[in-house]
Amino acid sequence: MRDLFAVIMLSGIYSLIAASLFITMDAADVAFTEAAVGAGVSTLLLLKTLALVDRHESTGPTRPGLAITVVIATGALLAYGTLDMHPFGETHTPSNDHIAAYYLENSIEDTGVPNVVTSILASYRGFDTLGELIVIFTAGIGVIVLLGQTGTSDSEIRPAMRQHLVLRVVSKILIPFIMLFAFYVQFHGEYGPGGGFQAGVIFASAVILYSILFGPEAARSVFSNATTRILAVSGVLLFACTGIVSMLKGKAFLDYSALAEDPVSGQLLGILLVELGVGITVAAVLIRVFLEFDERRWQPDDQRGQS
């Protein structure tokens, strides 16, 4: 298939189907995130990139031999590895019985949070989440470094979609609700599927929707470069400082029980702050990434290769 537009749309559908599969396998939080991130943001960025490159692939597969060899070898290795695996869906496996059982039994007692995925993410394995936040932060930095120079914007102002009346009216009604939903997901993530990442992505998508319809200048007037930069930094520092406060009180980094009189209240407070930090940074980074992608303009042939 040479038409990259079709390829990208199909990959988006693949992510969405994967998200549905995750739901059938009882992974609600994961499905939520995969749908938002994989089917949403990823497809969006791919399409934005496609707008700046050629729509069709020039040649077919160029090294099928090497690829087939690698694939067959890897596939054989994987198949060999499955021969000892526990069958799909079995209840008592080492993976389910060893440490995971602890989380399920003690989540409410230790942290007060019924959504075990959130309690693991934000408290038990909170350090991994800090790492994850840094990953998205780094990606934001990378996009700013690579696309932040404004060398190629043209002077002609894009009409955006001013003439699509229905879109404009409906979106103006929807955007506040999308943002409200983002806040709901952020703060309700302890009791239902959701949390900082999903909330950040939803909030960013509201701003991105606005930007697509009303032009990036409008979005930039609220989310300027300096604003997104400071917000991204604030989220990371909020997360880290929550951990540092625990250190200053003599306990380990990210030990939330140090944050309040009662350890469980401390946990709840810590999880709240940490997820908020995540939400802020993720939203800021994704908004900035989209705006940077949006700013590039198609370069006509004669200007290529000159920068």
Partner: protein
């Protein structure tokens, strides 16, 4: 409570967003140096503590080791921490000067931010006792490396970066698959617990498959032949200070991960001998030595030459690992330290060259030995250390490696090592010949600036010092090897 074991990661990790908040180039540089020096001091203190008192544990979030994430510093980790943090700090001193020459003004603050993130990530990989945590930090280091490489002023830097990105992501995904398969059989992610759980699981095929995936992913990051293809371009087109930093630290961290996997996680399983691991490592190591050295000798661009040289040196290190003995492991660990010093010095000297003449092609070197004596003297001494000439640190590594091969009566490996060293001499000599034995053009070039020369000579001096008195590297490496072999009887 002892907060020391996480400071070496937290300091650079948090300094990065702080630098970004201020958005001022000079301030970012100072904050970066302060954070790196803090990390170095922490690492040294940790090494002292671990050498005296045994491994140190730190439990993130206050949760016990299996429930939460554990940082576990033993002799091996502490040694690597000292190496990576010291070089990370030393490289920052000339970094601003080099950045002014080679990086766009608007990108310079981001350079320091990304550098700090990469340093923090590498230190995090070394400190962590949780396999998935290692994966996350591996990705942080990978992403920041891609960005640092892409900052090179040549447009080929972008291509080098995306190629590294594609290969690196495949490698990271393989590691993720390995972790998943391992988890399905053991139910844990903690390294110490994994080695315990794996004893219960009998030579399972899933576990062996998991090891293969983890190993292949790690070997890709390590640039072990034949998965080294991303390295020459990456080191050539990246800004010189980035090449220096990555050459001295990034591949060492991947090697640390491989050692950790082989000994601390899979130690027992691999004893069964089902996998011909030692043979594979020896074979790939030998191929790496020869392929790397021969390709290096054929290059006309000095950065690319030393990049291939790194592939060869990694071959030597993996050779030591493949011997599967305490002596071999000791030799590898000593060489990790020495190679960091050597390549650090060499690439910094190249940074000095780029500062003055803009490029490092062999044809441009004609007669420069007279115009830039200190820089070229540094290259010569670094080169002699690479070859393994006595009185340099490189000699110590080669000596221990030879002893390890002799101990197992593998004479042919000794010959391989000597041949490899001779080949190294080949390309070093080409540089010397160009620099001194050719007539220079009419170019008037001055010596590299002091801010680049001083760190270069600091590392060169360290090469000589640790060539004369290697008691530090030897004692630590031996202790680490003993400890690791002790965990897998």
């Amino acid at each position: 409570m002892l907060q020391l074991p996480i400071l070496q990661v937290l300091l650079p990790l948090l300094a990065a967003p702080v630098c970004l908040a201020f958005n001022k180039e000079a301030l970012a540089w100072l904050i970066a140096i302060a954070a790196a020096i803090g990390a170095t001091i922490t690492s040294v203190m940790l090494l002292v503590m671990v050498m005296q008192g045994g491994p140190i544990s730190y439990h993130m979030g206050g949760w016990p080791a299996l429930i939460g994430i554990e940082y576990r510093i033993d002799v091996l980790s502490a040694w690597l921490l000292v190496i990576v943090s010291t070089l990370g700090a030393v490289m920052l001193v000339p970094a601003r000067a080099c950045a002014i020459r080679e990086i766009e003004p608007s990108q310079r603050v981001y350079f320091f931010v990304t550098y700090l993130l990469c340093l923090a990530a590498l230190l995090g990989i070394i400190s962590s006792g949780d396999l998935f945590n290692i994966f996350v930090f591996l990705e942080i280091s990978a992403l920041s490396s891609y960005i640092l490489i892409a900052m090179g002023k040549d447009r080929m830097a972008l291509v080098a970066s995306i190629r590294y990105l594609v290969l690196g992501t495949i490698g990271a995904t393989f590691i993720l698959i390995g972790i998943g398969l391992l988890y399905s059989k053991t139910g844990t992610l903690n390294i110490k617990d994994l080695s315990l759980q794996l004893r219960e699981v009998e030579g399972s095929r899933t576990v062996l498959t998991a090891f293969c995936f983890l190993a292949i992913g790690t070997m890709l990051k390590l640039a072990l032949f034949p998965l080294h293809v991303w390295l020459p371009n990456a080191y050539t087109y990246a800004p010189s200070i980035v090449s220096a930093f990555l050459a001295a630290t990034a591949t060492k961290t991947a090697l640390y991960l491989l050692i950790r996997l082989c000994y601390s996680v899979f130690g027992e399983t691999l004893q069964d001998g089902v996998l011909p691991l030692e043979e594979v490592l020896l074979a790939l190591g030998i191929l790496g030595i020869f392929a790397g050295s021969l390709m290096a000798a054929a290059q006309t661009n000095l950065k690319r030459m030393f990049a291939y040289s790194s592939v060869a040196q990694i071959g030597f290190m993996v050779l030591g690992l493949g011997l599967a003995s305490a002596a071999g492991l000791t030799a590898t660990l000593i060489h990790i330290f020495n190679h960091a010093l050597m390549k650090g010095a060499l690439f910094l000297a190249l940074a000095g060259l780029v500062y003055r003449i803009g490029d490092v092609r062999l044809s441009d070197m004609a007669g420069l030995g007279r115009a830039m004596p200190l820089t070229f003297a540094a290259i010569v001494i670094g080169g002699l250390s690479l070859i393994g000439v006595p009185l340099t640190a490189g000699f110590i590594s080669k000596w221990y490696l030879v002893q390890a091969t002799l101990e197992q009566d593998m004479w042919w490996l000794t010959v391989v090592i000597l041949l490899g060293s001779l080949l190294t001499g080949l390309y070093i000599f080409r540089v010397i010949e160009a620099a001194w034995f050719r007539d220079s053009g009419t170019k008037q070039v001055s010596e590299a600036p002091l801010i680049i020369l001083l760190p270069t000579w600091l590392l060169v001096g360290a090469n000589i010092y640790f060539g004369l008195d290697a008691s530090l590297s030897i004692s630590v490496s031996e202790a680490a090897a003993m400890y690791l072999m002790g965990t897998s009887p």
